[in-house]
Amino acid sequence: MESSLNVNNWLRRYGFLSGVLVIAFVIIVWRYAVDPQVTTAVLASTLRQSTPLVLGALCGLLGERSGVVNIGIEGQMLLAAFIGFLASVYTGNLALAIAAGMLTGALMGLLLAFMSVTLKMDQIIGGTVINILAIGLTGYFYTAGLTTQGKLQPIPLGPLADIPLFGRVFFNNPPITYATLILVMVVHYVLFFTRWGLRTRAVGEHPSAADTVGINVFTIRYVNVIIGGAIAGLAGAYLSLEAVGSFERLMTNGRGFVALAVMLFGKRTPLGSWGAALLFGFASALQTQLQFGGEIEIPHQFIGMLPYLLTILVLAGFVGRTRDPKALGQPYETE
């Protein structure tokens, strides 16, 4: 009785997810048997493409869980990518460059928190200010021809990296990609299993309930938005220091907004967002592979649409079904 009930519950909660995972696993193994090289390349690319998306989504969900909408992720990433790149150019120290990028993101987060928590501005306007600021600053100060010593290189994790397929995909990555996988777990743990997470979610749902038991709503919101900013900054650093190794104007290319779709698709949970980001990353990786592979006779413009088409489908199909935190977007007023 008891156990059959548990199985039922388990199936209802995780059945769909496990089904998808099993199907994905079967397809991966089959493709690997057919063409190991391409399969490994596509999966590795999936993971890397998903990295900035999942980082952006973590930034978004930290803010939203505490009640602050952050549509300025794009701007936070872009400016952080730029500052990180400059730091790398002038110091030649990649670790310092990453730190500079994260600090930039955190400061942008501080700005957003100040506008939306202290000044009680409309949060969409606040995010827009950040996006425009980032585009303006990077556009104005960017000088062509700056070069760096190099970019972050993959670090194979010893024998783990030699495991066929999965080892190649998961254990042979540059540092920010590893850091992302760890961050997903850490944020998930913090949000759902710690005091800080409980308070954050309470503040996002019912700030006055938190206030009346002595929780400082402003502090919780500030800290979450700032930490989120630092994580978005890491995503920016990924783009300029790990993926490309240089900076280009508008190089974030909408990833900050796709990250919001990823966050919604993942129901504002870190693990869900990671899954969603992998799906988007896979769409990007597939798109690249199809364009270069040249096996299929479809104009490349259509293939290039793939990730964006997926965004539209996800936003249209799933967004209405997610449950927003109750106090999302509302400044907290003490009387």
Partner: protein, 508 residues
């Protein structure tokens, strides 16, 4: 009470609090003894909640002192008050709906292990312990939004006890409860005081005060006007202290002079939000110049009936005739134009637009007509003048007619709705819970207005969960149970006992 109860646990001395333009508390003195229930009585806006918020550290007094257990304190925030054993159950529950009972209880004072890891099991165990100790039945693993209101209130009380509160402030705890839930709450309050907890019980319901309290303090217009003993006080004497003049609790009215039938309902079927049949074959008739009162425990289809009659909810089957016209499938606007006035059950959700000014709220159902508009152009001066006139006529206490409705007290909000609905020619008035949660003065006023409407020949359908209200106003009483009208009685035959039995579903 015994001698031990003479220890003073909480004392306010000469508390004064000013808000812009208002003196909310004017040199208020208050003492609370150990193990007693002190009822704090006062009309809306008398300063009860302001005073309590100061005792809980949410506001800070401009003048005066607060003493807790013989120690003078300056409460900077709720944390300070909690640390000194003060717990407050707010009128609007401070619970996170999507979290479990245990999570809500421990929020802010979490049980953790190691690096901030939440020990949910331990919190659940503590909630179980408290719920056993004080007879507060609740499942710690339940999600709060799935719980009935009465249970949510128990969670709030547990929340305070979990923080070791020995002084409990209950802010209008019965406003949201059914009579049965209120009785259960009173039992819990007794249990708590027997175990040494002291309670301040804020309310404006006179019956409850007399039933449950050990001492009664009365506030009026920010001043503490006196203490009464529940053994000697009567409802009338308390009402007089509260309002500052004699209050007529029983409406005076002449016998009804019923005219022709205005509202006729034939075998009406209506579904509720979940698609279940909520109104299952109702027939009723209301004549011009009479009040038909519908009595019944809440949730027996009254809400759906009212919404169907006013055009808000679709009718599945049956026929509704208003003033000779088949209005079964009329929209709310068509009903309004036909002469239906509606005082909705939930004034904040369906009665007013909270962000709009009073003037705009007063033309919500005829703003598109002359003189308020011609074509697409609004005439704001006419709307303003109309608002000014109604505020005056219906005694709405407000700084101005441009004030947003959200700034008003419950009683004044209700007066705005009454003013709007009664200021145009109507044939049928449908009033749902017209005086729920408002102060005695406003209740008296609104009751008089409803009777005045009747005397002018309006047919009145009154739906109320307060049996006293139905028995006091109605000329005929229909009792609703399980979606049906089980019996209609002339007021002369409708005794409390008989109607009470019918409400419980037993035929009398």
């Amino acid at each position: 009470m015994s001698d031990a109860s003479k220890t003073i646990v909480l004392e306010a001395r000469g508390i004064t609090k000013r808000f812009p333009g208002v003196l909310a508390n004017d040199r208020v003195d208050l003492t609370l003894h150990k193990g007693e229930i002190l009822a704090l009585l006062g009309e809306n806006g008398a300063g009860k909640s302001t005073l309590m918020n100061m005792l809980y550290g949410l506001y800070h007094p401009d003048e005066g002192e607060i003493w807790i257990k013989g120690e003078k304190v300056a409460l900077k925030n709720p944390r300070d008050a909690i640390d000194r054993g003060i717990g407050m159950v707010h009128q609007h529950f401070q619970l996170v709906p999507v979290m479990t009972v245990a999570e809500n209880v421990m929020l802010g004072s979490e049980v953790t292990r190691g690096a901030g890891y939440l020990d949910v099991r331990e919190a659940e165990r503590q909630v179980r312990k408290l719920s056993q100790q004080y007879g507060l039945e609740v499942d710690p693993t339940a999600v709060v939004e799935d719980l009935p209101v009465g249970t949510q209130q128990r969670v709030e009380i547990i929340k305070a006890l979990y923080r070791h509160a020995d002084v409990l402030i209950l802010d209008e705890p019965t406003a949201v409860l059914t009579p049965q839930e209120a009785q259960e709450l009173f039992r819990i309050m007794r249990d708590l005081t027997n175990q040494g907890v002291s309670i301040i019980f804020i309310t404006h319901k006179l019956k409850e005060v007399l039933a449950v309290s050990d001492r009664i303090g009365v506030l009026r217009a920010g001043q503490y006007v006196g203490t009464a003993d529940p053994k000697t006080a009567t409802e009338a004497s308390l009402a007089e202290m509260m309002v500052g003049r004699k209050v007529i609790l029983q409406v005076e009215k002449a016998p009804a002079q019923p005219g022709e039938a205005v509202l006729q309902v034939k075998s009406l079927y209506v579904k509720d939000d979940r698609g279940q049949t909520a109104v299952a074959g109702i027939d009723l008739t209301v004549h011009a110049g009479e009040i038909l009162g519908i009595a019944g425990v809440q949730g027996n289809g009254q809400r759906e009936l009212v919404e169907a009659l006013t055009g808000i909810r679709p009718i599945e089957e049956g026929q509704v005739t208003i003033a000779g016209q088949d209005s079964t499938h009329f929209t709310p606007r068509k009903n309004t134009e036909l002469g239906v006035a509606h005082i909705p059950e939930d004034r904040e959700k369906h009665g007013l637009v909270m962000a709009y000014s009073l003037a705009d709220n007063m033309v919500l159902n005829n703003y598109y007509q002359k003189p308020y508009a011609s074509g697409i152009v609004m005439h704001n001066d006419a709307i303003y003048a109309h608002g000014v006139q109604l505020v005056e006529q219906f005694d709405v206490r407000t700084p101005s007619v441009m004030t947003p409705a959200s700034n008003l007290s419950g009683g004044n909000k209700q007066k705005v709705i009454v003013a709007r609905e009664f200021s145009r020619p109507t044939k049928l008035l449908i009033a749902a819970q017209p005086t729920r949660g408002i102060d005695v003065g406003s209740i008296e006023f609104i009751h008089k207005q409803i009777v005045a409407q009747r005397d002018e020949g309006v047919a009145v359908l009154l739906v109320s969960a307060e049996l006293d209200e139905v028995l006091g106003l109605a000329d005929r009483v229909a009792v609703m149970f399980d979606g049906r009208i089980v019996k209609t009685l002339p007021i002369t035959e409708a005794t409390r006992e008989r109607v009470g039995l019918l409400m419980a579903g037993s035929e009398a």
